[in-house]
């Protein structure tokens, strides 16, 4: 191969890659800051926070921009990429705020606090790249970048047996699924002879691949992608990891990598597998998996008494709802997914934040210890009620609007049975979300129940998450507009 055939990137490419550059720069600066100013985690915290806010500000410009391929064809920047950059920057900011006042992260006995904040920056950058990959190599690289950082974050509490177990399970499960996915990618490359999404699409449209091998490719790829979004049957790691990891980390995992996994799946399946839909009905495959995911998540959540574990199963169920919108292959479905991901990030981070805030004083996530919280800590409990209503999908909260758009998109495509299963599942979820509410308000706290002071920063963050969750339930137009603008130039539809 001669040098002329190489695609040398241009300096101007970096202009389209600014938010990621900022996040990766923040990661390096945070590490350096941690070395220079030792035992002052405020330095890495401030660096990463500044980075996330800068990335957020830089991301809005790209919402209406047409598609642009940069960095030698590895990365594509368009409205959807901009939307996910905004989402991931917001999630990073919220996670930073949650972590800063959390005993689990900032407790006296913890080492490497600076490293923790640096890893948040690295993971946020990695998730942004996941949403932009347009090449099988970049797909794998970005996925591994996020996975490897998350293994370290899950094991952050080095002295805790539970956290170490969670981290180890995560590593083993992640390694297996990414290996299986890599095999699927190699099969796809063998069938189409191309690594870029566009090349794979053209080869598949020209008839490459028989139904059996394409089905194999789909199943193998779903193993790797399903693991990232915690889809049944690749969900086994989620409850254990969410329960064992520090709660702020669980909060981050349940929204960040999950949304990134969806971004990756959308771009990959919509671009490359669409022409193959006549030979392998992957939409039906995903429909079945979606039903299995939400039903399993909801039914198992009913029996949980550990709130973290309950929220873990609920996040599995939410992946099921999102998959419904995913397989519609319409602009409406895509807009619904994006909007729901935004809403889901708000309400799920809020619910986890409530657990973090209480863990500081209760040192427990058991449901029984939440008895009487409605009177012991009325404001925080009231905000938790907002998040729980929203997670169930009750009006007047953002969750209702999100689910409404999602189900509407499914119905418009004529998948009535799928929408009915989704609605029935929401009814089941009402039971266990309200179980938390009932314990907080209708179970009497024991006389010796400890006081539950909540850190001021946690109060502020709770309000910052609860206010939009309520507000979006009444005036969702502006945010829905963001999602609509993000997909207007999405060419794969």
């Amino acid at each position: 191969m001669s040098v002329d055939m190489l695609q040398i990137p241009d300096w101007s490419d970096l202009g389209g890659f600014l938010p990621e550059t900022v996040m990766f720069g923040a990661f390096l600066l945070a590490l350096l800051g941690d070395l220079v100013v030792r035992r002052r985690p405020v330095v890495p915290f401030a660096v990463v926070m500044a980075g996330a806010l800068t990335a957020l500000a830089l991301s809005f410009a790209g919402l209406d921009a047409p598609e642009r391929t940069i960095l030698g064809g590895l990365v594509v920047v368009d409205g959807m990429a901009a939307f996910f950059r905004i989402l991931f920057s917001l999630i990073a900011v919220a996670t930073l705020l949650v972590s800063w006042a959390s005993e689990e992260i900032m407790g006296r006995s913890r080492e490497n606090k600076g490293e923790y904040y640096a890893l948040i920056a690295l993971m946020t950058g990695g998730m942004m790249v996941m949403a932009e990959a347009r090449d099988l190599l970049m797909l794998y690289l970005s996925l591994e970048l996020v996975s490897l950082s998350s293994y370290v974050m899950a094991g952050y509490m080095r002295n805790s047996l539970r956290a170490t177990e969670a981290s180890l399970k995560y590593v083993i499960f992640g390694a297996v699924s990414s290996g299986v996915m890599l095999y699927g990618l190699s099969l796809l490359y063998g069938l189409t002879g191309s690594l870029t999404y566009a090349g794979v699409r053209d080869a598949l449209a020209a008839g490459a691949g028989d139904p059996l091998s394409l089905l194999t490719v789909c199943v193998l790829l779903l193993a790797g992608l399903g693991y990232k979004i915690a889809m049944v049957p690749f969900h086994f790691w989620a409850p254990d990891v969410y329960e064992g990891a520090p709660t702020p980390v669980s909060a981050f995992f349940s929204v960040g990598p999950k949304a990134a996994g969806f971004a990756l799946m959308i771009r990959f399946f919509y671009t490359t597998m669409q022409p193959a839909v006549d030979r392998v009905d992957w939409r039906l495959l995903i429909a079945v998996l979606s039903v299995a995911t939400m039903t399993f998540g909801n039914l198992v959540a009913v029996r949980q008494v550990n709130v973290k574990r309950l929220l873990a199963y609920s996040s599995i169920a939410h992946a099921g709802y999102l998959l419904m919108g995913f397989l519609m292959l319409t602009a409406e479905g895509l807009q619904a997914i994006l909007f729901y991901l935004l809403v889901y990030a708000l309400m799920n981070l809020g619910a986890f934040l409530f657990v973090v805030a209480l863990n500081n004083s209760l040192k427990s996530e058991h449901l029984d210890d939440y008895a009487g919280l409605g009177f012991r800590s009325p404001w925080a409990a009231a905000m938790m009620i907002v998040f729980l209503f929203s997670l169930t999908g009750l009006p007047p909260t953002a969750g209702f609007i999100g689910k409404f758009y999602l189900f509407a998109a499914v119905m418009h495509e004529g998948w009535y049975w799928l929408a009915i299963v989704g609605v029935l599942n929401s009814v089941v979820s009402l039971f266990y979300y309200m179980k938390i509410a009932r314990t907080m308000y209708f179970t009497k706290a024991p006389a010796d129940a400890p006081a539950v002071p909540i850190a001021p920063l946690h109060y502020v963050t709770l309000v910052l998450l609860a206010a939009p969750t309520l507000f979006l339930g009444l005036y969702w137009g502006g945010f829905k507009d963001l999602a609509d603008r993000a997909v207007q130039h999405f060419t794969a539809l």
Binding site: I8, L28, L32, A206, G207
Partner: protein
């Protein structure tokens, strides 16, 4: 589509290729068992204690083979691999670097400088954090350099 018959031919060719693999596998199993089977019939049978001992390149084996390796070996191996791969990566870069134009060359040079810079920060990080010390906890406690084993 004019391409379809051609691709169909490729597909059948692909399956024919798998048939060869299957044949190869079957022959391998058959041939291996054949050789061992004949040897079993022909050879003298003299079992002994020394023959059952684990083969360690002619040395007498000592100790159990279920020794737990210290985790530090893995750390050192990881550091080694990172910098090993870095050097492997530098070779092809150096080969294509020369014929590049000035504009593209400067970008490619800066890219590699960034890559090396990131690795340098990583090296500084593990150095300062004490992961290069073989006995990490002792070095930190006494504040002095502690040698190997």
């Amino acid at each position: 589509m004019t391409q379809t018959p051609c691709l169909a031919a490729v597909a059948t060719g692909l399956h024919a290729g798998y048939a060869t693999v299957l044949l190869f596998l079957l022959f391998g199993i058959f041939f291996g068992n054949l050789a061992l089977g004949i040897a079993r019939l022909v050879r003298p049978r003299k079992p002994g204690g020394e023959k059952a001992v684990t083969y360690e390149c002619g040395e007498l084996p000592s100790g159990s083979s279920w020794v737990r390796f210290n985790i530090r070996f893995y750390l050192v191996a990881l550091f080694f691999i990172v910098f090993d791969v870095e050097v492997i990566f530098l070779y092809p870069w150096a080969v294509v670097f020369k014929p590049l134009s000035a504009a593209a060359g400067s970008l490619v040079f800066v890219e590699m400088a960034m890559f090396l810079g990131i690795l340098a920060i990583g090296l500084a990080y593990i150095w300062v954090k004490g992961d290069l010390d073989w006995v990490k906890s002792l070095a930190r406690r006494s504040g002095t350099e502690v040698g190997g084993e």
